[in-house]
Symmetry: D3
Subunit: 299 residues, 6 copies
């Protein structure tokens, strides 16, 4: 079971810099093979199917809790995409071709299927698919998979960061580089505990450190890369048997924090009339307001 908060993980810069092709690039980090939908669903299904969870509680707790963080990442990347799309079109009468400004944008779904919002597709419009989920049931193999998956996810983030300088995309990717880096280390440490082999020495792959990215470095300077959260009111505390010692890259001590990090208000998304979204006129609003106040059934 999950609970939701009306918050997101960071404050995303609210600049007016429409860039549909940047939005398309960031989609790779959402619905691509190595996007957040993949990390989320891999851990979600692994957590459902976990065997011998009592004996392997720290590993179980790790997979259970990281899943919840990934939900927040899916959310965050989606809002980054939305910010990149913001302002791509201007309202005009239909016959004045208000969506003409995005006719040449790479990813037409943003404008024809949706109303300039994120969707579970990758950067070319191929939908995310359940075929991206791996769950052998073998603990070591699943951990090895997750370690590799996080490494691949980090690489994709590095490349998208390099492809666009949109401030909202950069801010989100910088943060996710750090948090994804935490997951790389977490699975490496879990693999070490499970096998005794020092795979954390492989980190970072690629060898470029997160600190080479301005928007990531600022989070590492605050120690964001040393904290693992339980993402729960009271469960999953055994992750502290895995998340301990020091960060393999800079040697800072690791720390488990019960609960969740501080959240931020989810920004308002304005109406886009030329996309009929939300398509509620001032008169409609009034009538809706009346109906909302009614005591019970409408009819």
């Amino acid at each position: 079971m999950f609970k939701r908060m009306d918050e997101i993980l960071i404050e995303i810069p609210d600049v007016e810099k429409p860039d549909p092709n940047a939005a398309a690039a960031v989609q790779e980090l959402l619905g691509g093979k190595f996007g957040e939908m993949s990390t989320l669903n891999n851990y979600l299904y692994q957590s459902f199917n976990f065997r011998s969870k009592e004996k392997l509680k720290p590993f179980y707790d790790l997979v259970m809790s990281i899943t919840a963080e990934e939900l927040g990442h899916v959310e965050l990347v989606s809002h980054a995409i939305n910010k990149c799309l913001r302002g791509s079109t201007q309202y005009k009468e239909p016959d004045a071709t208000p969506l003409g400004s995005v006719k040449d944008a790479r990813l037409s779904y943003h404008f024809l299927a949706g109303a300039q919002g994120a969707m579970p597709f990758d950067s070319t419009g191929n939908p995310w698919t359940g075929a991206n989920v791996f769950n052998s049931g073998n603990l070591v193999e699943d951990l090895l998979h997750n370690f590799f998956l996080e490494v691949g996810a980090r690489t994709h983030k590095m490349k998208v960061y390099e492809m666009t300088d949109h401030p909202s995309a950069r801010a989100v990717i910088g943060y996710l580089l750090v948090r994804g880096g935490v997951h790389v280390v977490a699975y490496a440490k879990a693999l070490e505990v499970a096998t005794g082999v020092n795979v954390t020495k492989l980190i970072p792959i690629p060898s470029l450190n997160n600190k080479a990215f301005n928007e990531a470095r600022k989070y590492e300077e605050k120690g964001v890369h040393t904290k693992l959260y339980t993402w729960s009111d009271k469960d999953f505390n055994a992750i502290d048997q895995i998340w301990k010692g020091t960060n393999p890259e800079d040697g800072l001590p690791l720390e488990v924090i019960k609960g969740v990090p501080k959240g931020y208000a989810i920004p308002e998304a304005p109406a886009v009339d030329e996309e009929f979204a939300p398509g509620i006129s001032p008169e409609d609003f009034k009538e809706i307001a009346n109906r909302l106040k009614m005591a019970g059934n409408i009819t």
Copy 2:
């Protein structure tokens, strides 16, 4: 942002009745076009992309909060599948063909890719895909979609219920018929508030009432079909402006409950050695236990 609990929504009967093809059928309710992955992701993305959320807060709160319940449904269906698979094979040496008993099972992925666990695929092994997500951005259109989606999801549940009498499958589907029924009503009421048209009168579609299903009726008798939860510690309370009045089928008063329903312990899943899951020998456990107790880094 989301939090997770180490609990599931109901207690699933723990019978030993291996039935791989029942498990395959239940997969339709997980990874099918009208499965829980679809309801989850439709609301997840609609919630990310919601426009004018301040003015339309009750609708926003509805979509935000139902998303969290759907996560619990994905979890619950997955455990139902796992229970149907439980005991499908017996341990033997590899040369004694321990998986021979499932060679003719319809869905080979359960045994060759996974270790007899749920996966984001439908009943024929086609993966769930992001193409199943709809989000026009237009409030009325998205509500209409969601109403239809829940109707379709309910119909699929009714059919899978009729296809297998596996107690675990039945228990889960019975509960989900009721909760899915709540979502049908919720979106119908939202649509009524948004448009003034009394679409709740269409309910139920198909016209067979949930009470015709033993495993659903027992939950309706407890009033489970009258409650909508906020799935949040403090947010999404405005759903009470939509979830009010009476249930269109039996006229019982509707009630919003802040927070989440009582949860149940997630059952232990035993090792399946013939699937190498989790593949940890008694000796391995000892060494792992030692490493878990270590103060910090291994190497």
Copy 3:
């Protein structure tokens, strides 16, 4: 533009012999790569995109008119599938597991998604896809493709015929072997006219003659394999410049018939209450009847 008739191409035997796996096999002839959906859509798109149609009118007329016949084939195969499914389940209360009899059927979609009806999928449940359409725009290349496509389609029909002796499936496939054979010859002749190369000599591929199939032979004995229809009230008559001379296999003279062949009543499909189809109770029928008789708007 197209017109529709409330008729199908042959009378399908109405036997009670439920065989879900036969139905699954026949799906290959509907939604498979070489199924009727493929022949239909290849010719449909080629007809839309035909270049220099005035100068190449006989070829254009051929592609235009055969498209219409393929629509009737899609319809016919669908009804064959429906007949194979007829009687697969018996009505019982939901808790008596009325769909239990088909839990092990190969193609679960027939029972969980639909109500025991045909669908645009192949024999394993993979959906038909537009990727099956070929249209180079080059006349000779498209004709060569169509000739090959019809050869492949015929081979698949031969194999499905050999896989099931269900009388409805056999009757439909027997007829379609003959009509598909006509299309093989038609495209071979068109290719000959376009190039001067005697490709009809390749026929039949595979070398087994349709007359080796009882259900096909009976149609050839009636000369069904010598006739090509214009499938139009007044257009597409120039096909007689291609469909002329003799059948390459038995030397019978070929004949163009303006219009369509005699049709047969489409059989009634009974309600399947355990699938909620059509889900209309006797009381519902009465109310509907009243509403149908109303002068105008309901509200």
Copy 4:
């Protein structure tokens, strides 16, 4: 069974304004999830699998007949795409790179797979798939689906209209907005008859009226939005029990017309030598002409 006419539904403006990315956008209306391939095939399969058709004849007739209109829509959209592509390239010797002008066009298939013609793909090149077809067998549920599908289809048309001002695209989309609007009303009315609930009051969704689109308004001014055709010489007349009363938006009386609307000549598509289409030289034409005149078999 179907018949074909050598006609299309409207006269498409024959302007020379090559716009490959406009063509790509219009593809969404052909092979997208809410494109004409989807409406066509949903109704096609629902008509095949219709249960209790005698008792529910007006509904059966509605689905049967609308299918035929959808075939004409698939055709019309395809020709709109072709017009947008017209003139995209100029003939040059291969070494002079005649297709260089479209190297950056969004949808490469138009030029590499086909010869600048429509295909069953959406605006990003993802093929149409049979997974887009819904057919529960439950009358009310299928009607609800169809109502929603038409609403979604209309929204996509509105957005593509706003994305391109290509006169051929606009003319076709304007007409289809009106005809699609007719189908929205038709399924709403059918749903009303089946359930007694006044869902026509929901119309239009999105709330912007078709009359806000110049190219649609001109058809509404001619009353095109009030007529439903039987698309048959003699069948499907019972649709007049559903299509009656007035249009919910402007109150004009509705009318059923037996048969089909007046059609227009399908325009000639010129050769595109740089695409080898149709690839017939003047000498080839002469030889073909001779062979077409031959009495019978070539060899």
Copy 5:
């Protein structure tokens, strides 16, 4: 560039034990996500795109040469499938339903699309896809991927081995467990050389040794697991800088062998007349023999 030999890697037992569902299971090892098509194509594309190959020659040589071995594995698994299918049907006249014996077989493509032969699909009939190829370009990341891929491929082999005792399947899988095990070690060693981290200590994953499988043990007893071939007449010899030292599981010294292992005759596959394969009658053979002896062109 590649050369081919008319040989396969081992002698496959030629037993008459038709088992279509075993064949379906083995398809997972051919066209599944972790099948030989995946290992082949991952290394093939990585070899094409390898950067700084001069400086990294031993790694380049490793990827180049293993690719060639994978081609032999694709071939070998295909022949295993063919042996499992051998004898599934008996010749009868078409009306005697000769393919009726396989109507209930899980994978209909073997009988309807092909003529009882292997195909690039997985165990449920989902086609192999290029989306299974990973190539980041980063040496360490690609090696980590390959190590994980081989681990996953080995696990799948272990499971299919346990699912069927068909002698041909077992013989092939036993051999491939050993050779796949060699590739696991090879990529682990490459990763060690590249990073200095002792990942070979992770081997084997799952922890069950190949020697627990009779059909694998017999090859390990011959030392097959200690040899890496260059698969080339003269190139790729630098693999001996990586493939050196001892096997991490049993400590036997490793050896590079220039060229290829001894091959075996590819067995004859008999005609299957009920599948029209190859469809050549005795008379046809005679005519073909004559044409084969002709001096030059036929016409």
Copy 6:
């Protein structure tokens, strides 16, 4: 079994002319339905499943040997793509947006998933799929398919040639037009031998001769279009019973050559630091060099 050489089929011009969209177009010739992946895998699987190979040895040898050539074509096209991508980006610090120059490139996978290298996808990013493989088992039908496939492949090459004048793309496509033309003739001749029908007279389709392409003509002038190789040290020599007589287009005598054509060095691909490929620093190289020289195991 296969052997590999460290060579490619021609020398590709090494110009600095980055053109990502040209690279995207050439991908159609690699991973498209009619790309080299398709020809390769069709012949590969047909060769595995060939029936009565002793009696039909010349046909078997043809399919076996051409497969090996196709591997070289897959390789060659991949290198053409790589050359088109060469220089698309310049190294800069991550925050200086080094991949910004390709943000608008059509095929984002080249930059986000890979490191500017070829991949098994088509020109729009849709992955190659095993559904592209045809193998009926019927000799004549498979030969007809292969003839058509090669015709289609040639047409696609002609169109990509016309779309880009990138010297590397042109050089490779010119060569492949000629070699693909050889395969067109080879399958036509095989079909003639198998059936006695003179299908070589259909050649060329489209009717434009390869000599109309500068980069193809130069190879035909060297007689490259008259030679068929056995691609083997000692096997597959019976192809000379099929490949004999004269070329149908220019009448030059055909010749079988045992073995393979002369190969060329595979060019070095430079590091692309902004893609982290290969991601090995000068210091790393030193350490790796040391480890490569070590006697055996690292740990």
